[in-house]
């Protein structure tokens, strides 16, 4: 079983690496942190903090681009052009195909974040020289790596949600629509829930709305990696137990997504 999963994941990786658009994305990921450095030089004191803000935004942007324009279309094409039929010939089972595809996508997603982390670290090392020491504001050589790590785990949950959607979607359009919806809702729910805690807003909102929104939010992946990554970048100490809980939360979410997907995909009529 392992060999088949390995072969399918290898195929997925090669499919993406040979995609011209993905190579452009990877190149852009290598260069983009430079734009963040240039932007940070418009400021006076907290240059390191501005650089970190730029890196965070870039990590979010590249994650969205990968999920919407590479993950969803690749899986959608399998369904629409029936490519999955070639892969689902015996002895390949549906579970092996699903897990193989998922692992392949995950490895390439990891590659993307690794490129962002390495590029950010190189820029920090080379360009933030001794003249910037007073303006670093918590930026260290490990900051780009910690940002990439936390946001990778964050969007791992979203990938789990996407693979779940793939298990019942009928084509690219449905996959992209629901993947966009998951990303959009995960993005706006935390600020909405925070806004409901404001006394002025809470007065006007119905009492059941907070409970309903909170319940719906529990079904979505939580994009809470930014908070931890920013705190670490500001030089604040986060207890190890919080980092472990964060990692466990997202790994368990993705496992739930893959498990549900395998149950549904096994029984669906392709």
């Amino acid at each position: 079983m392992t060999r088949i999963v390995f072969l399918i994941s290898r195929l997925t990786c090669l499919e993406l690496l040979q995609n011209k658009a993905f190579r452009i994305l990877l190149t852009a990921a290598a260069i983009a942190p430079m734009a963040s450095f240039i932007f940070s030089n418009l400021f006076m004191q907290n240059i390191g903090k501005v650089f970190i803000d730029g890196l965070l935004a870039l990590n979010h942007l590249f994650a969205w681009l990968f999920i919407l324009f590479f993950t969803a279309p690749l899986l959608g094409r399998d369904l629409e052009s029936k490519t999955c039929y070639f892969l689902l010939c015996p002895p390949v089972t549906r579970n092996q195909y699903l897990i193989g595809r998922f692992i392949g996508l995950l490895l390439i997603f990891l590659l993307l974040f690794a490129v962002l982390a390495i590029s950010g670290t190189l820029i920090t090392w080379v360009l933030f020289d001794s003249s910037y020491v007073a303006y670093m504001a918590g930026l260290t050589l490990t900051s780009p790596v910690s940002i990439a790590f936390f946001l990778f785990l964050n969007y791992l949950s979203v990938m789990g949600a996407v693979i779940f959607i793939f298990s019942w979607a009928t084509g690219i359009a449905e996959l992209m629509l629901f993947s966009s919806a998951i990303l959009f809702l995960s993005w706006i729910f935390p600020p909405v829930l925070n806004a409901l805690q404001n006394p002025e807003v809470a007065k006007q909102a119905p009492s059941w709305s907070t409970f309903l929104l909170d319940s719906i939010y529990q079904l979505l992946p939580h994009l809470n990696g930014t908070t931890i990554a920013t705190s670490i970048a500001y030089g604040e100490k986060i207890p190890l137990i919080h980092i472990l809980a964060f990692s466990f939360e997202h790994i368990s979410y993705v496992m739930i997504g893959v498990l549900l997907a395998s149950i549904i995909f096994k029984k669906r009529d392709l």
């Binding site: 501005v50 803000d53 965070l56 935004a57 498990l259 149950i263």
Partner: protein, 222 residues
Amino acid sequence: MRQSFILKLILLIALILALLTTRMQYANEEETLLTSEFHYHSPSAFNKLLWGHVQGLGADFMLLDVFLLYDTASSTKQKSHVLWQALLETIQLAQALDPKFYDVYHIAIPILAYDAELPKESISLAYLGAKALPLNWQIPFTAGFIAYDTAHDYHNAAKLMTIAANAPNPPSLAIHLAARFLKKDIDDASAISFLKHMLQITPKKYHKGIKKRLSEIINKNK
């Protein structure tokens, strides 16, 4: 087959329970509302919603807007209340999006006090800065002087200067001024000394208002 399905179901339920338990235990703490003695209009929740998970970047862009608004407001010959009010709202938004962004306080506190002639808003902003950055002595130090010199609010002046004096590595001037403010005993020499220090730490572009106040004190003595 049935056994495998049941095992998957059990594993699924276990994972869901583990996920919910983890989320409930390490849920985000509620944001505590920052307060100061002055009324401070906080920006709408919509602006925070707009910037989502990149509020730090939002604060950076708001600060760039502050630079632009300052250039426009300070270059118009007639004093424009509307422009300075827009500047104040942009500063408030930048602070709300990222309370730990030091550049906001560093630029906004002297601008609001000396250029926009809004010393109370400047002091209010300084209280928020002192709370968000408790290890920083410069924010309460600057605002303490502004409270004494421009707003003539001796109570808040002493309070802010004491906060500055109690922060790590404060300058001796902060300790000296804290004592003097508490006794309501500040001479022009100390005021001139402080404003000259402000000229050294603030970018040249924002010296206009500070130089104007410095010349007022010097001319008063002549």
